[in-house]
């Protein structure tokens, strides 16, 4: 059997003369194959790479939305200004806090926990819990924002519950804005992690877990030594997607706090919006957007590393 299959996979006769001709043919063939794709590539370049390139160019100018007849090239001035701007550094810090709290810790861990618990749950429980969590995810960002605004505001649900428990209530959006918006993001985004991890956990062969159980490994040990290493690839992918999505959250925070009070929940996307559209400084705002892109790719690189070590 082996000898019969092999010739179909490999070139039948690997002699020099015959290698050249498949190559030429291959080149032509790949050109022909590329042809149908090329319009799509051109469109991508035009509508995706084009605007990004244009943005990169604008970031080096002092372009304004209004108040200026002509813009000029200013080199790295915008970037220099950003790093000297306390509000920018504040936004970078808050973005990191928001991302770590809501994406790394919140969505990721909670998603995994839910997925693990649901493995053992009965089918009706699984359907109901899954349904609720996914609903939060399907809701448009702005709607979710309003729901959570109503939950956290002074006359909101949370305070009503606290009052009922005779606990002190407060205006959460005012006293702990970054925590409130982080919680909102956890609430909204956990479903995605849960789905990713459910799929990953289903992939683990039952025999391995059973064997470990027979060997006397408890729940935590099994989780730590078997489950986590086996789903490491999924963890990496999930962290990367979560983080990138969280970094660009705008609507949720805008609806809940508008970045306030006093910039205490102003993450980079909100800071960028303020500079570009409220203060009309498109050039500066775009420079900040590019920096946000850099932050995102830094995170990605870390996760890619995480993925690679496994292979």
């Amino acid at each position: 059997m082996d000898t019969r299959v092999a010739p179909q996979v490999r070139p039948p006769d690997p002699s020099g003369a015959k290698v050249a001709s498949p190559r030429r043919g291959g080149l032509r063939r790949s050109l022909v194959r590329a042809l149908p794709v090329s319009p799509a590539v051109i469109l991508l370049l035009l509508f995706l790479a084009g605007p990004i390139g244009y943005c990169a160019y604008i970031a080096f100018t002092d372009l304004q939305l209004t108040g200026q007849a002509q813009s000029s090239f200013v080199g790295f001035d915008n970037f220099r200004a950003a790093f000297e701007d306390e509000a920018f550094l504040n936004a970078v810090w808050l973005t990191l806090v928001f991302t770590v709290l809501s994406s790394l810790v919140g969505q990721n861990t909670l998603g995994l926990a839910l997925a693990a618990l649901m493995q053992r749950a009965s089918k009706p429980v699984r359907t109901v819990v899954g349904g609720i969590v996914v609903t939060a995810w399907v809701l448009p960002e702005v709607v979710a924002g309003f729901l959570l605004y109503a939950f956290f505001r002074r006359e909101g649900t949370l305070n009503a519950i606290l009052d009922w428990l005779h606990l002190p209530s407060q205006n959460w959006l005012f006293t702990l804005p970054i925590l409130a918006v982080s919680f909102a993001n956890v609430w909204r985004g956990t479903a995605f992690s849960m789905l990713v991890y459910s799929a990953a956990l289903n992939e683990i062969p039952k025999e391995i877990t059973e064997a470990a159980e027979v060997d006397g490994a408890g729940g935590w040990r099994r989780m730590w030594h078997i489950t986590l290493p086996m789903i490491r690839r999924s963890i990496g992918t999930n962290l990367m997607l979560n983080t990138l999505q969280t970094l660009s959250v705008f609507g949720l925070i805008w609806v809940m706090t508008r970045g306030g009070p006093s910039g205490k929940s102003q993450t980079l996307p909100l800071f960028m919006y303020e500079q570009a559209f409220q203060k009309s400084m498109i050039g500066y705002g775009t420079a900040v957007a590019l920096l946000l892109l850099v932050v995102g790719s830094l995170f990605s690189v870390v996760y890619m590393r995480l993925l690679r070590t496994e292979v």
Partner: protein
């Protein structure tokens, strides 16, 4: 075979290119018989003052000019987002409307950007232009001496107070404070004697936007000194003023209000929708003692305006905002207003101006001032008893025009205004002292104005 896989993407590509090309080709929508009019629609769904008025003007115009059409393009947004949206539209001939509603606060920025068309050739031939008072004519005049907009009224600002709350606090119903301290004292009395109401509202912080700067801070700042010079901008050196005592004093007033809890709860004061809440809930429900606000409030309280409250004139009193220490001229007000302008990239400017003429016949202008509680900028309307008696308060606010100030609405102004709001927010929340907030403003001012700063 390669034919099959190509078919789908190729079809897609053809479709995409076709749609993009057509979008490029006919996107301008420049129908020579249609005037596209962009205006700011209230974010409060129940308020349709402008929609109703423009709808009526549209009917009049289309009847008088057969074959011509008015297309209303409302932009439903809070002030700051309206400007942004408008500026993006004005950038390109494809999206530029034929007529825009411009706040005098930003008009110079848009003129400098080359977004607007000078109207002098039209104004020269327009007889009604002589009816506009001189200050109003300069509202949309740029540094190049050309006029870029026709004002549809102006506004003034003062103190609105609740007579019921005043009676309970033992304060007079014809209250007229002479100094800042008298305003604060009245608020303190209310706080002490009428629990459960907010004694004094003064807009503050970034969420309130220009309302914080103009109705709040500048009503204080322009009441310092002898009122002869602009406290924000030095016209002689063409530089912005930093480090002034007047600035700190004004911040000090704001700090006192929030530190002594004479104002709204800070978290309410920094709610982006606070202006709507003040006129929609707090005042009509008798929960606010004194409110430093604009002349336009009654437009929300007219019959059919959503928050109908016709008896407001019996419940509320009006007082002019006093100068800091009662120095001459004794009272202070700020004025702004909106103008109708024609974008430089408009496709039908001539027809657009014709629509301005329709809106600004004496009868139509008067109808508009009364509908939106505006202050007349036309002499013939201001003299008409039908206008003066149309609404309580109109005379009070029209009289304030004599002691009113206009903002230095140069291109840097919006950024300066944001810097003021940040300073106010700092003292409101208690995060910064007056000195720290003022020096923060001085720093911001340098960046905002490219170092065009003078210390006074």
């Amino acid at each position: 075979m390669p034919v099959r896989p190509t078919a789908a993407p190729l079809l897609l590509v053809t479709l995409l290119t076709a749609t993009t090309l057509t979008a490029c080709g006919s996107g301008s929508g420049s129908d020579p018989d249609t005037v596209k009019v962009s205006f700011k629609q209230s974010t409060d769904n129940s308020i349709k003052v402008m929609d109703t008025y423009l709808g009526e003007m549209k009917k009049q115009f289309e009847k008088a000019n057969p074959g011509k059409k008015i297309e209303l393009v409302p932009i439903k947004a809070p002030d700051s987002e309206y400007y942004t949206k408008l500026q993006q539209m004005l950038r390109s001939p494809k999206t530029a409307p034929d007529l825009v509603y411009e706040d005098t606060f930003l008009i110079n920025s848009d003129i400098t950007s080359g977004y607007l068309k000078p109207l002098d050739t039209y104004l020269d031939k327009w007889a009604d232009w002589d009816q506009f008072i001189d200050t109003a004519k300069t509202a949309a005049k740029a540094e190049d001496g050309k006029t870029y907009g026709v004002p549809d009224g102006t506004d003034t600002r003062g103190l609105w107070f609740d007579k019921g709350i005043f009676a309970k606090a033992g304060l007079p119903s014809d209250w007229q404070p002479k100094t800042w301290d008298e305003v604060l004292d009245a608020a303190r009395t209310i706080k002490e004697k009428v629990p459960g109401v907010t004694p004094l509202n003064i807009y503050t912080g970034k969420p309130a936007g220009e309302a914080a700067t103009m109705q709040g801070f500048e009503m204080l700042l322009y009441g310092t000194g002898d009122g002869s010079a602009d406290p924000l901008y030095d016209t002689a050196s063409k530089k912005w003023i930093a480090g002034s005592q007047a600035f700190k004093d004004s911040l000090g007033f704001v700090e006192t209000v929030y530190k002594e809890k004479l104002g709204l709860d800070v978290s309410d004061a920094l709610d982006p929708n606070i202006a709507t809440r003040v006129r929609g809930e707090l005042l009509p429900e008798g929960k606010l003692g004194i409110n430093l606000d604009g002349s336009w409030l009654p437009q929300d309280w007219l019959e059919g305006a959503g928050h109908a409250w016709p008896e407001w004139s019996e419940k509320l009193g009006l007082a002019a905002m006093p100068t800091q220490n009662g120095q001459a001229p004794g009272k202070v007000s700020m004025s702004g207003g909106w103008t109708w302008s024609i974008p430089s990239k408009a496709s039908n400017p001539d027809l657009a101006f014709k629509f301005i003429e329709t809106m600004q016949t004496k009868a139509n202008a008067q109808k508009w001032y009364i509908a939106n509680s505006g202050i007349a900028v036309r002499k013939d309307v201001a003299a008409d008893p039908a206008y003066v008696d149309a609404q309580p308060g109109i005379k009070f606010f029209t009289d304030l025009v004599a002691s009113t100030h206009y903002r230095p609405a140069y291109p840097a102004y919006p950024k300066v205004s944001t810097a003021i709001q940040e300073a106010m927010e700092g003292v409101t929340t208690g995060d910064s002292s007056v000195d720290k907030a003022a020096s923060g403003y001085d720093e911001e001012l340098k960046t905002a104005t490219d170092d065009q700063v003078i210390t006074k």
